[in-house]
């Protein structure tokens, strides 16, 4: 009897979590590894990157200035497609932001300690991505000088914004999301700003870091409330991030356009957002860990875990694409069926198949462990995924509008150079802020990282106060005969 059992159950083996920080580091060397980047003189390469980012930022400002001067007619919008690149870029950027909150809040609640290596970084990405996203709805209104009408401010017309409109929900969702992400990021930064305050030599640096660290002194009574606040913020940011992309999807789903009016949109959009955001974190992380020599902190193990998330969310997105087709057929609505046939075989089929190959097919390589741990391949896939996710929004927005109910009004949409320049310009906005962040703020949450090192746990010290590293091998548990 016991022999049969032995054959079907393999011997139990304890699989270790790899250590989160590689190499032989103590607290001091971790502090130095991260904050020396901020204390060293600015490297020449940074200036070069910053200059390029500034040029692109200038392109954005120029495109916006001309847009305000001339009006939205400079874009490729025309009946029937009156929603083009602006909404695509908005959804794309805001989706990218979602990974930062997922890493900082949801993985925190799930006690995924590996998040500490990348959360600061990803949260910064969130904030700047949401800024880029916010540009588009703000400038597409046409008369930007009355943009404050979206807020419920008493005005001389005696009119209020319409709280039944998904576009107004979006205003509240995105501005709340930006504010809460910024607060969350800042709370995490305070102890690390204090670390820089205590290490920096320059007078102006002491004043600035001293002011923004608010006089943090590492008091345990402070940590006690701080950790509570951090936990509450994570608990608040988790439903918030899900709600934001849900509301973004409502911009489409609450309308009656075929291909948009579906209940799958909220979960489908959230999965897509996390998918593209993780890809963006990977692209940025792979460059930064190399340039700033942070390979001990942002390890290949982190990359592997993130690639697993890419695979999972990629499959979720793929499932949503399939379900859309199924529901269109199952609903029996002619227009729904027609729009999905047109997506796959109509005038925008090229975009549809780019989307499918980038989002569904390309992450499949991550079934193989060797590929998940391959840095160059991960970098390439992470770029491909973000291209694919841009095309997903393109397909959703443009194909449904260009071929809707009335074939006589069908039309083909093409962007103008102003659409393209504005989009490219937002990269300038993003990278200008991101480079400033890399230069002046600690890009890894130092205090949190120390907290997940084995040296931080008092249990890893013996009675005489000597550090005893946790045992590498846990003995195999004795198996009872059945």
């Amino acid at each position: 009897m016991s022999r049969t059992y032995e054959n079907i159950s393999k011997p139990y083996e304890y699989v270790h979590e790899p250590p989160l920080v590689k190499g032989d580091h103590d607290f001091k060397s971790i502090t130095a590894l991260v904050t020396d980047i901020n204390l060293r003189p600015t490297p020449r390469g940074w200036y070069m990157a910053f200059g390029v980012a500034n040029l692109l930022l200038f392109l954005l400002l120029f495109s916006i200035a001309y847009l305000i001067w001339q009006g939205t007619g400079i874009w490729g919008l025309n009946t029937p497609v009156n929603w083009g690149w602006a909404i695509i870029n908005f959804v794309w950027w805001v989706g990218i932001g979602h990974a930062g909150t997922l890493i900082s809040a949801i993985l925190f609640l799930f006690r995924q300690d590996w998040r500490t290596a990348i959360n600061r970084f990803a949260e910064a990405m969130t904030i700047f991505a949401v800024m880029c996203a916010g540009v588009f709805p703000a400038i597409h209104v046409g008369r930007i000088w009355v943009i404050y009408w979206v807020f419920p401010i008493p005005n001389q017309m005696g009119v209020w914004p319409n709280f039944n409109s998904p576009l107004l929900w979006d205003v509240f969702a995105v501005s709340t999301y930006f504010t809460v992400s910024l607060l969350f990021w800042y709370v995490g930064l305070v102890p690390d700003l204090a670390t820089i305050r205590d290490r920096i030599k320059s007078r102006i640096g002491k004043v600035l870091y001293g002011t923004f660290s608010l006089g943090w002194r590492g008091s345990n009574r402070h940590w006690w409330t701080y950790e509570k606040a951090y936990m509450i913020l994570a608990g608040l940011a988790t439903p918030l991030v899900l709600s934001v992309h849900t509301i973004v999807s409502f911009d489409f789903a609450v309308s009656v356009i075929p291909g948009w009016h579906t209940t799958i949109f909220p979960p489908y959009f959230v999965a897509g957002a996390i998918f593209s955001g993780f890809a963006m974190v990977l692209s940025l992380m792979i460059i930064c860990r190399k340039v700033y020599k942070l390979e001990d902190i942002m390890t290949v193990d982190h990359m592997e875990k993130m690639n697993m998330i890419l695979l999972v969310t990629g499959m979720m997105v793929g499932f949503a694409y399939a379900m859309e087709f199924f529901m269109a057929w199952y609903s029996g609505v002619e227009y729904e069926k027609a729009i999905f046939m047109l997506r796959a075989a109509g005038p925008y089929a090229w975009a549809y198949w780019i989307m499918i190959s980038c989002n569904v097919l390309s992450p499949q390589v991550f079934w193989v462990k060797r590929f998940r741990r391959n840095i160059a391949l991960t970098f390439v896939i992470s770029i491909i995924v973000n291209i694919g996710m841009w095309f997903e929004r393109f397909v959703i927005t443009v194909s449904s509008l260009s071929t809707d109910f009335l074939p006589s009004s069908w039309g083909y949409y093409s962007p103008t150079m102003w659409d393209i320049m504005t989009y490219i310009g937002t990269f300038g906005l993003f990278f200008t802020f991101f480079l400033l962040f890399l230069r002046f703020l600690p890009m890894v949450a130092v205090a949190e990282l120390k907290n997940v090192m084995p040296q931080a746990d008092p249990h890893n010290y013996d009675d005489s106060g000597e550090y005893v590293p946790p045992k590498a091998d846990v003995p195999e548990p004795k198996r009872e005969p059945v």
């Binding site: 509240f172 002194r217 509450i232 205090a447």
Partner: protein, 183 residues
């Protein structure tokens, strides 16, 4: 700086522990010796220190709850006032009390106000910002944000006696015992 130590007000006595475990032990010793007004300082929160120092549950949750409820009812009343009272829009004879459509904004404002409560409530409870502090006059203390672990018994404590505290620290084997002055 020229004034002698006898003229200055003593803030407390500071000592440094070698590692988290030592700090945990000395905190327990200090608590068991009956001191109440003291604090430990570390670059990161230490597991088990809250029990060792016998800290009471933070009131932050109540602050956040208060803010959250304000956001919730504030949003509902704002929408009710604008959509149903001040400028009612008759859209195809549909009801003015369109609650399902009000959920998103109500939810967002609840979260927004709660987050304000959590962040600013935390800073308020911690007495921050406070840019200057007697401890910052100790050079060695700058390591509290790097790799230093400190404990300070403050002179406000009813049973505080400078020499006794120093002896307690010396007996417990912690190093760098220093007097901290309020100036």
């Amino acid at each position: 700086m020229e004034t002698s130590n006898t003229d200055r007000k003593l803030y407390g006595v500071l000592a440094e522990a070698g590692n988290p475990k030592e700090l945990l032990n000395i905190a327990m010793t200090v608590k068991n010796s009956g001191y109440r007004i003291y604090d430990t300082y570390s670059p990161f929160p230490i597991h088990g220190m809250d029990q060792a120092m016998n800290l009471k549950k933070s009131k932050l949750g109540w602050i956040v709850l208060g803010h959250g409820l304000t956001g919730f009812f504030g949003a509902l009343s704002l929408i009710y006032f604008t959509m149903a009272v001040d400028y009612p829009l008759n859209i195809g004879g549909k009801t003015l009390l369109n609650f399902p459509a009000w959920i998103p904004v109500t939810f967002e404002l609840t979260i927004l106000l709660s987050a304000f409560g959590a962040v600013f409530g935390m800073f308020f409870l911690n007495g921050l910002p406070r840019l200057n502090h007697p401890l910052f006059s100790i050079d060695n203390f700058s390591r509290a944000t790097d790799d230093g672990f400190f404990i300070c018994i403050e002179s406000e404590d009813p049973q505080f006696e400078k020499e006794k505290v120093k002896k307690l620290f010396a007996d417990a084997g912690v190093s760098n015992i220093e007097e901290v002055y309020d100036d």
